[in-house]
């Protein structure tokens, strides 16, 4: 595991941690708030990337996993007064179990069909949350007044930054191992991977469950940051859009790329606000995303790599 790691990587990660730690001293509280959102979107994008960016199994229903985690902890803590320190781990476990139950039958589905079935799961979830036990889920209005675990921008930022840092480091370390190579191999040629003696189904299942755990963890902390949850805010194709585009603009399959993609997208949207408070903002935002994506589908990671290669020469 350690053979792929070197001092250079350790320095990068330490710098990253240091930057996050220093951030509240460097920027305004408003920017810090924006960063909290960017960090959560980043966690979701990394979760998406761990599954879809490497294996090529595109999830169009990632909010489905995030929503299970978020709803689980919201219901446990709000309706049943379970302390947050228990409800969040429980929510992660519930997300993992639920994702396993849902994914087992879907494992044989490939390509666009997989994307569609995840989209269908999300839509199904959206409808079920409103219909089944609205006394628990709060129906269409959702639940407001969920316990928030931090007060103030600085604390919220440190919590989100800590989470995002841990998730990024954890997933990055995983992908540096032979597991990461095998995952990439799924995306390149699943048959050939089986032909190398590896149980691709088990690997996919593991990847999916890890991705679900991260999504559930992110979703659980996210709802305790927001303080409220509503089906429209979670099981929404625009949310899918944000997650996927963040991952792709950052650079699919790179784990840290999606985190930066999330920052880019969130700040693009926030910095347009004073100039374009209305609907124009989303037009520009979507347009920029589309042009960037068309120009470089591999994302900013690839652009940065190109630039670096250019400088090196």
């Amino acid at each position: 595991m350690t053979s792929n790691l070197n001092l250079r990587h350790a320095i990068y990660w330490a710098l990253f941690a240091g930057l996050l730690f220093a951030m509240p001293y460097l920027v305004s509280k408003g920017d810090l708030r924006t960063m909290i959102f960017a960090l959560y979107v980043g966690i979701f994008a990394m979760s998406w990337d761990f599954l879809s960016g490497r294996t090529g199994y595109i999830s169009f229903g990632h909010p489905f996993l995030i929503g299970i985690g978020a709803y689980a902890t919201a219901i446990l803590s709000y309706r049943f007064d379970v302390p947050v320190m228990f409800s969040i781990p429980l929510a992660v476990i519930i997300t993992m179990v639920a994702s396993t139950m849902f994914i087992l039958p879907a494992l044989r589905i490939k390509g666009s069909y997989f994307a569609l079935v995840t989209l269908a799961f999300m839509e199904l979830m959206y409808q079920l949350v409103q219909v089944i036990r609205p006394d628990l889920t709060g129906g269409t209005r959702g639940i407001s007044g969920v316990e928030t675990i931090t007060r103030g921008a600085v604390n919220g930022f440190y919590l989100a930054a800590f989470l995002a840092f841990c998730v990024a480091l954890f997933l990055w370390l995983l992908t540096r191992t032979r597991l990461g190579a095998a995952q990439s191999a799924i995306g390149m040629d699943e048959e050939a991977l089986k032909g190398s003696g590896i149980n691709a189904t088990k690997l996919k299942l593991f990847t999916f469950v890890v991705s679900a755990a991260v999504a559930g963890l992110g979703g659980a902390f996210y709802v305790h940051y927001l303080g409220s949850i509503a089906p429209r805010a979670i099981f929404d194709i625009n949310f899918v859009f944000t997650i996927i585009v963040a991952a792709l603009l950052g650079g699919a399959g790179t784990i840290t790329g999606p985190l930066f993609g999330a920052f880019f997208l969130t700040f693009l949207l926030e910095y347009l606000r004073p100039w374009l408070p209305g609907a124009e903002r989303y037009l520009i935002y979507g347009g920029v995303a589309l042009v960037l994506y068309m120009y470089q589908p591999k994302g900013m990671y690839a652009i940065a790599a190109k630039l670096r290669a250019g400088v090196m020469k």
Partner: protein, 241 residues
């Protein structure tokens, strides 16, 4: 001693019977040539052995153990692996990384906590004729001969004792054919078992101990290469094709 026993294999695709009561035994350490015209069903036999197609009838035994109900990866772990007619490298991985996937154990824990063995990768690469400098090359920089070598290396990396080679000479230059043949012979001497499919009978002959000829999914002749090739039915099948 028989290492791989194929017993009455039947495979139907819809109305088409691709494999019809195919039986053959492969002895440990031998090299068996599987010959027959286009569409005879040779590749299907490989796919059946590897579990890429499901068998309709019959049994496949590896070292006496019935493996026909096992998934592909489990069969490989028991010691049989194949190469493809069109090589299938992992396109965005280097030569070393491709070999590494073959060496990777099928255990999530081992994948995460074990470490890759660069020396072993180099040894395998060199065993098929690569040099240390080739390890960082990507598949799109490789010739067809190199791709076949890479696939062979990845297949050997799985630790297979029985190796199925599909159209191993297709698309190769004369020099590359010689190189690959040399490699196979070397492995034969070390006790590895081969089943080889090739259209290029002339290149195949020196690599095999014995031949099985098939047409329309069934065995029509087997024995020493010269005898099989002299068989009237075999000659007719090739002419007919």
């Amino acid at each position: 001693m028989t290492i791989l026993a194929l017993d009455g294999l039947v495979k139907r695709f819809g109305g088409l019977t691709a494999t019809n009561q195919f039986s053959a035994d492969v002895t440990e350490g031998e090299s068996l040539g599987l010959i027959g015209p286009n569409g005879a069903g040779k590749t299907t036999i490989f796919s059946l052995i590897m579990g890429e197609h499901r068998l309709n009838e019959g049994a496949i035994r590896l070292k006496g153990e019935a493996i026909q109900d096992l998934p592909t990866h489990a069969r490989i772990q028991r010691g049989v692996a194949r190469t493809y007619q069109v090589p299938r490298p992992f396109a965005e991985m280097t030569v070393a990384e491709n070999i590494r996937v073959g060496l990777t154990p099928d255990s999530i824990m081992a994948m995460i906590f074990g470490s890759s063995n660069a020396a072993e990768e180099l040894a395998l690469a060199e065993a098929v004729g690569f040099e240390a400098a080739d390890l960082d090359r990507l598949p799109n920089e490789l010739s067809m001969g190199d791709l076949r070598k890479l696939e062979l290396a990845r297949t050997l990396a799985t630790g297979a004792k029985v190796v199925l080679l599909d159209e191993v000479f297709a698309g190769l230059t004369v020099g590359e054919i010689a190189q690959i043949s040399e490699l196979i012979n070397e492995k034969r001497r070390s006790g590895m078992t081969f089943v080889i499919v090739s259209h290029d009978l002339r290149s195949l002959e020196p690599l095999i101990d014995r031949a099985v000829a098939m047409t329309a999914g069934s065995v029509i002749a087997e024995g020493a290469y010269a005898d099989v090739i002299a068989d009237k039915q075999v000659r007719d099948s090739y002419l007919g094709a």
